[in-house]
């Protein structure tokens, strides 16, 4: 009853609780928050009952990644699209929900839609739901990521026509085929942006004998990463620790080398797309072959990734408008039209 009353003072929210970034869409306002899913925890005897206290959340915490002293840990509570640390996720959600609510006087108690990977287990979905409820949500609805992407990209999800979406996120790659308001086929692959970063770190260690951190790997991927061997050549100079001497050393990287580093995870994603096309019913397959597939997520910004998938599948591939916010926009549209799109929400199975 109290939560319902407090609900009058809260805006309904749609949350893209991603491995890399958390985006929040507020009803009638749009996307109002886009921050890294990182929490910095300070461990000290004075830090409350458990000896832990939250130092920073979001961008400020991300800036601390890999640069913290012994008593501070910068944690990414989401891994592979699901919760890896329940209590820290709850703290992060609570912080973000509080941040986007206008009313500082009343404790927010909004209705929340959260997207989940289509391959997540019942336990993982329950964990996300419980986490949102603990963070103050009045009601929590789950929506599968491929459906959110399709809605966010403006595809005709309710029509009797097949639409294929590929969302290359931070922790997972979601492949889905949507028709008549439901997912005809969906697959979740735990290979995405994080695996790209790992590939770059491994490449530099093996080929150049230099150790770099996650943040540097991400910067390399964004600046000179390429998905095609014949992409325009770009160069970049980075600094890392020489594994043999233990001293700092500069290395000049080319996009050709980074393509080699990314080849393995890209191949796995291509394979997953091909499997999806094989599994698609023929009528829907014809629709998809004619229109093509839509790419979304941060991975869609990797240079020439659409060309690569185009060559491997022989289909048109288009990148969605503003692919980074596509999932959040899709959740937001579902929130705005919750009554009409009632059956797009996922259950805990």
């Amino acid at each position: 009853m109290l939560k319902r009353l407090l609900g009058f003072f809260s805006h309904d929210l749609a949350i893209d609780l991603g491995t890399a970034n958390t985006l929040i869409y507020v009803r009638d306002k749009g996307i109002v928050l886009n921050e890294p899913s990182v929490v910095a925890i300070r461990y000290s005897p004075m830090g409350g009952a458990s000896g832990k206290s939250v130092l920073a959340v979001g961008q400020e915490a991300k800036n601390m990644l890999g640069r913290t002293p012994g008593n501070i840990k910068a944690i990414r509570p989401m891994k592979d699209g699901v919760i890896a640390d329940f209590s820290v996720t709850e703290v992060m959600l609570k912080y973000f929900i509080r941040k986007v609510q206008e009313s500082r006087f009343f404790k927010p108690s909004p209705r929340i839609i959260i997207c989940v990977p289509c391959g997540s287990t019942q336990v993982e979905r329950r964990a996300i739901k419980e986490s949102a409820l603990s963070a103050g949500a009045r009601e929590v609805y789950l929506i599968e990521e491929p459906m959110a992407v399709a809605i966010g990209a403006g595809l005709p999800v309710a029509d009797p026509t097949g639409s294929m979406v590929v969302d290359v996120g931070g922790g997972t790659t979601e492949v889905g085929i949507v028709s008549l308001g439901g997912l005809v086929y969906s697959d979740s692959l735990r290979v995405a942006g994080d695996k790209f970063d790992e590939g770059i770190i491994t490449y530099l260690r093996r080929q150049h004998g230099v150790l770099i951190g996650d943040s540097t790997a991400e910067r390399i991927k964004k600046e000179i990463g390429a998905a095609m061997p014949n992409s325009e050549i770009r160069e970049m100079e980075i600094k890392g620790r020489d594994l043999a001497e233990g001293l700092s050393r500069s290395v000049t990287l080319t996009s050709k080398g980074i393509y080699d580093a990314l080849a393995d995870p890209l191949d796995q994603i291509s394979q997953s797309i091909k499997v999806a096309l094989e599994q698609t019913p023929p009528e829907l397959g014809a629709d998809i072959a004619e229109k093509g597939m839509v790419l979304a997520g941060g991975g869609a910004l990797l240079r020439d990734i659409d060309r690569r998938f185009m060559e491997e599948t022989g289909m048109p591939v288009v990148v969605a408008e503003d692919p980074l916010t596509c999932v959040a926009r899709g959740c937001g549209h579902a929130l705005e039209e919750m009554d009409i799109l009632g059956d797009v929400f996922a259950s805990e199975r």
């Binding site: 009353l5 609900g7 009058f8 003072f9 805006h11 309904d12 009803r27 009638d28 809605i151 990209a153 403006g154 595809l155 005709p156 999800v157 309710a158 004619e290 229109k291 093509g292 839509v294 659409d306 185009m310 022989g314 289909m315 048109p316 591939v317 288009v318 990148v319 969605a320 408008e321 503003d322 916010t325 926009r329 549209h333 579902a334 705005e336 039209e337 919750m338 009554d339 009409i340 799109l341």
Partner: protein, 327 residues
């Protein structure tokens, strides 16, 4: 290819769709429609449709804009300018908000100002109701406790003309309840009867007299007992107290040298005191015996029961003391 020819002029973009510029750029690069179709994985008729700005046979706008972006990149044009031109001819700048299904009257779920105000009103009314209930509950609970700052100060209460005046300093045990004082943590059910006893001014029910009103610290004095004039007192209110009640009553005088948590209950289990009393105060209690007493810091407490000092050391364990006192 002459790049300058491919640069789109914004003036022209306002009137001409992106197809013309794509066509011109393709011809400059001497590419056939079939070549473009193979590169973009489209069918030639779709490429022609794009160049003619005819989107009637094309799929949804998301796909069209994707094709245009790919086509522009293939020809070395700026995708943003081509998409801007497309947006202008379709008069749709906001492709991030494409409706996901045909919507009629869009229901607005966000609470409006009126609903919010109603919510605030209900909340305030609920809080006011709780506060009223709480205060009302306290007002219904008369008690018999006088709290004095100085142990030696005479604690008295003025009674109507004709009534006798008896002091608490009197060492004789007081067999009947006397003072009508309300203290929030104290409860006593016998008070209406006690009030009548006091006004009757009988020797059996000695009342407390007040010599210096300024020295008395009391709260919520019962208006029924002491303040009404004699003429207003109907004879019916004078009730003789039963003798057996008087014999059950006991008096406690507790002086606090140090602040101490105090829990005192009478024979019926009613909490006469249930709070921390600060140092320097003296409280006087009357009620039905036996009393059950608990002092959280017994060292700082001096206790008298019916005028006799009680040695708390016998009942002290550690710093607290628990005891029962009966007549």
């Amino acid at each position: 290819m002459d790049q300058s020819e491919n640069q789109l002029q914004l003036d022209d973009m306002g009137t001409i769709g992106p197809g013309r510029y794509l066509l011109k750029a393709r011809e400059n690069q001497k590419l056939r429609i079939e070549d473009v179709a193979i590169e973009l994985r489209l069918i030639p008729s779709q490429v022609t449709a794009l160049e003619e700005d005819d989107y009637s046979a094309m799929p949804e706008v998301t796909y069209v804009r994707g094709y245009l972006r790919n086509y522009a990149r293939l020809l070395g044009l700026s995708p943003d300018e081509i998409l801007l031109a497309h947006a202008r001819i379709t008069r749709n700048d906001d492709f991030g908000k494409v409706a996901v299904s045909p919507v009629g009257e869009k229901e607005i779920h966000t609470a409006g100002l009126g609903v919010k105000l109603l919510g605030v009103f209900i909340l305030v009314a609920a809080i006011a109701g709780v506060v009223y209930w709480y205060l009302d509950r306290d007002a219904d609970q008369p008690v018999t406790v006088a709290v004095t700052p100085e142990p030696a100060a005479p604690v008295t209460e003025e009674v109507p003309t004709g009534s006798s005046k008896l002091s608490f300093a009197d060492p004789e045990p007081a067999p009947a309840p006397a003072v009508q004082v309300g203290v929030d943590a104290v409860e006593a059910d016998e008070q209406p009867a006690a009030a009548s006893v006091q006004q009757d001014s009988t020797a059996v029910a000695p009342a407390v007299t007040e010599s210096e009103a300024g020295q008395m610290q009391t709260e919520n004095v019962e208006p029924v007992s002491a303040t009404e004039p004699v003429a207003d007192q109907p004879a019916v209110q004078s009730i003789e107290p039963p003798a057996e009640i008087a014999s059950d009553m006991g008096q406690l005088v507790i002086s606090y040298e140090k602040s101490c948590w105090t829990d005192i209950r009478d024979a019926s289990g009613k909490k006469l005191v249930y709070k921390t009393i600060p140092a320097g105060q003296t409280i006087t209690l009357e009620g039905k015996t036996p009393f059950t007493l608990f002092f959280g810091f017994a060292v700082g407490v001096d206790l008298k029961f019916n005028g006799e000092s009680i040695d708390l050391k016998q009942h002290t364990r550690g710093v607290f003391a628990r005891l029962t006192l009966d007549n």
